[in-house]
């Protein structure tokens, strides 16, 4: 990839590479996670096997306490399994050292948390390029401009988080997740604290990232409306994958959740 390419060309070539890759972007095999010790033991994940494809927007739904966040953390290398395996690409995260995991997160993964996504001392622009700066790399200026443009933050770049609304902060986090061209973006209830308009604008952006840039996104949510933006929903209950749904709609998602007894 050289500076001679235009932004759309860049995107295209990158999407092509992603589409050609045979292995799923990430997968879990018999993942078991036990929290706590003694008589306070909780089996947060109880043998989860799931594949997350490239270039797709996957939502994870399930009742509170069903293990959604735990699964996400384990897939993202933020937490370790008690038994079983998780892979990002063809790398088994269980084989990686703390240092390698950190590098993996920095170079190949992106994150959007529900709250507290940004460093208060840095401007929006600095927050966006933080993972690149930590790696000692420079942001590709064209790509950066494109991403900033897409999230609609061009006139907010020099603001600090305290001067941004909650929705804007999340969009900064989304831009940060995207700017280092990670293989997968993980989001844990990103719209949980937003009103419906701000929420839908963020979700539209995530959708565009998948459709236009070929991004892979995994999002945990409670909200059937949010989940309906995804290509596929994976349902969890009591630490197991109980069902999944392709091409979801709001109504079907709501119906399904009722079924799960949440």
């Amino acid at each position: 990839m050289t500076m001679l390419m235009t932004a759309p060309q860049l995107v295209e070539s990158w999407a092509r590479i992603a589409a050609e890759a045979p292995a799923p972007a990430a997968r879990a095999v018999d993942a078991v996670k036990i929290h706590g010790r003694g008589n306070t033991v909780v089996r947060a994940l109880d043998g989860v096997t799931v594949e997350l494809e490239h270039n797709r927007f996957t939502a994870i739904m399930g009742p509170s306490g069903s293990g959604k966040s735990t699964l996400l953390h384990c897939l993202a290398g933020l937490d370790t399994l008690t038994s079983g395996h998780v892979y990002v690409g063809d790398k088994d995260l269980g084989d990686l050292s703390e240092r390698a995991l950190t590098r993996l997160r920095r170079d190949r993964l992106g994150f959007i948390f529900q709250a507290y996504n940004l460093l208060p001392t840095l401007t929006a622009a600095e927050n966006i390029t933080l993972p690149l700066a930590l790696a000692g790399r420079r942001a590709d200026p064209l790509w950066l401009e494109l991403v900033v443009d897409v999230v609609g933050l061009s006139d907010r770049l020099n603001h600090r988080p305290s001067e941004l609304s909650g929705g804007e902060q999340l969009r900064v986090a989304a831009a940060r997740a995207l700017v280092s061209r990670p293989e997968i973006i993980f989001a844990d209830e990103p719209t949980g604290s937003l009103d419906s308009r701000a929420g839908s604008s963020l979700l539209c952006f995530l959708r565009r990232a998948v459709d236009d840039f070929g991004q892979t996104i995994v999002m945990v949510t409670h909200d059937p409306v949010a989940a309906s933006y995804a290509d596929r929903i994976v349902f969890l209950a009591d630490g197991r994958v109980v069902d999944e749904m392709l091409e979801p709609s709001v109504e079907r998602a709501v119906e399904h959740m009722k079924h799960l007894g949440s």
Partner: protein, 841 residues
Amino acid sequence: MARLVRAALTHAGRLFGIALAVTLAVGLVSGTFILTDTIASAFQAATVSPNSTSDIVVRATAGFTAQANSLPEREPLPESLLARVAAVPGIQALWPTVQGYAAMIDKAGKSIAPDGLPTIGTSWAPGDVLDAGRAPRPGEVAIDTTTARRYHLHLGDNIRILFQGGEQSFTIAGVLRRSVDVVAATKATFDPDTATHWLGQKGQINAIAVKAQPGSTPAAIRARINAILPPRFEAVTAHQVADEAAQSWTKSLAFLSPALLLLAGVALVVGALLIANTFSILVGQRTRELGLLRALGASPAQLRRLVLAEATAVGLSASLAGIAIGFGAAHGMLALIRGAGLAVPASSVVFRARSALAGVICGVTVTMVAAFLPARRATLVSPVAALNGRETRDDLVRAHRIGPGAAATLTGAVLLAAGSLHALPTIVASAVGAGAILIGLALLLPVLAGPAASLISAPLVRLFGQPASLARQNAVRNPRRTAATAAALMIGIGLVGVIAIVTASMKASATKAVRETLRADLVVMTNGSAGSSGGLPASVAERLRHTPEVGVVSEIRAGQWGLGDATETLLAIDPATVTRMHEVDAASTAAVRRLDDTGVLVRDTVAEHHGWRIGDLVPMTFARTGTRRLPIRGLFSTMAVRTDYVISLESFAANYAQPLTLVVDVKLAKGFTPGTAEANVRKVMSDLPVAKVMDRSQLLASQQAQIDKYLSPVAALLGLSVLIGLLGIANALALSIHERTRELGLLRAVGMARSQLRSMIRCEAVVIAAFGSLLGLGLAVGFGWACVTAVRDLGVTELVLPVGQLGILVGAATAAGLLAAIVPARRAANLQVLDALGDSR
């Protein structure tokens, strides 16, 4: 209420930070007080132990008050006075005392002359108390117990003792309990005949000790004796004699007490900074908690009571721990002072109520004030505002600080300069100036913190990249906190730097004086430090005169005298030889040539100050001969040894009883190989070990050692405040990491490596430490210049910046910032990413 208290207690981490700050501050404050008390009482105990056996002492009145470190010389009494006093009714016993110079030589042939205090011999008094042995007979001596212990001298040992007129060997027959009424390093007591032979003059005694009959009060007898005494003699109680001695002892360490007071002041300021800083870090968190409690229905009054109770409990318990630390620190500081070779009499550490009180009051008050402010704010705003912590963000540093801050700093600098140059009264102007500078800096520091942090961290950013630039942001994010943390270090570095500059300047000035003006080949001085009270016996110069290799011998003596109410010192010189030993300017040389045995020379500036001209009479009060009016024969600006007044040796002999010599300058005779001649002189002098024969370089070394001896304990004491400043940095870092837990979790989640996190925290510490040290360096240079300039007239003519030393000081403090960061950095790096992220505190 109980539940509220329990809720407050759950945040042990926060309480620990505060408690640590309070403990350190209180430890420093009470430690300083304990040390001061201990030193004062050590001297009290050494002199005012109630083993005096006489009730009243009859002596000549002193013509003037003696300077620190010595008792006034008194005229001797005629022996005939004994019979007249004995006739006073109510007296049980009385005995004459004779006192004079007596230096002991230890078994290894070295003179026992510790600490520059006089070494004295006295006549045995019937009331003297012995720890061991018996009263000395002819050929025997009783020595004081401290010396016996320190130099391993035992009953039955033989010991050589040097007197003014010669020397004799004695057998130790007794060990005296430390005497109460003399200021002396060593004391030897002889039978009356021996004492009169070596120490006194025929028909004269130094004092009469009187014991009152049981049933009659000393005061009444004193009055009766005073009634029959001729003028110029007085009877005083033994208690008064002891008190005078104690005061003189205490004064001999007077140079330390400003340093100790300064240290106590610094301790208070640094301690308050530390505590206030800790609270400022925790204030946001605290306000949110209180907001939550209010939202849940706690009344403002309840909250205020809760906060005050909490602050009292934390402040009190931390203060108590601090006092324990201070007690330990005082031991350490005392060891430091003794280690530097300063004589503090043995005594246990004194713990007075006021040391504890000062610590507790400081600790609890500052804690309560610091705790109450956020509580008040939390109860004044709406619960929701408090809950969001929106009201509690530190105010942005406002530009309006710059004007008054700069004005105060500049005014202070001008005042300080004017004071040092003596354009204004020095002490007042310097003190006000220094105060104004500090106030100005307090206003300016938060404004400076931002740009300074950027500047300092620029090279770090180039070296370490993103982590360093994050560290810079953190240092800048709360300039007031950064400023307060750095200020604590600044004060310590500034003080130590000033001492370093003054020390270097004094050494350079001494070196220059020796290099440029000393013409003598050898200089002979006493083994102890040269002071008005220590000195060489006359036999030293005598022996040198009879050594063939010696060409010219020139003695210089020193003495005290009274000018009105003031006590002055003078030098006695040999006008014929002194200018051959020391080069002085032409006008001063001419003045020395005009000096005769009846006149006096005066320093030109002193004469100007008094309005004296050549030929005017100076009323000089001598202990022995009373007030005499000496005509001024000439004015000088430089002299062999710094002094304001000069008389001839002849005149000195006429007016002073104890002709102890300060220095004997020697020029070797022509016609000998210099090396051999010098070696021979040293050999001749080797069995007079009180005398130290020094060539030029040895003299230089001894002067430098002398300067170090007095200034290095001061520097070490002040160094403690540097240590506290560094602990302040560690504390501030630990707390802000606690405060930024989620932020650290986020950084780790998006890919910051542990090592990067550690270097971020370290960079932050280095930025703060470098900021504080550089400010301290600036202060040190400014104040150091002021100090040296102010004492230019006292012979400190050179201003030297010990660049290497100051560089090491700043470098070491900055590097120590890294040490301060070790624990906080490790704690931050070990945070589990998810725990930190999920931390909802």
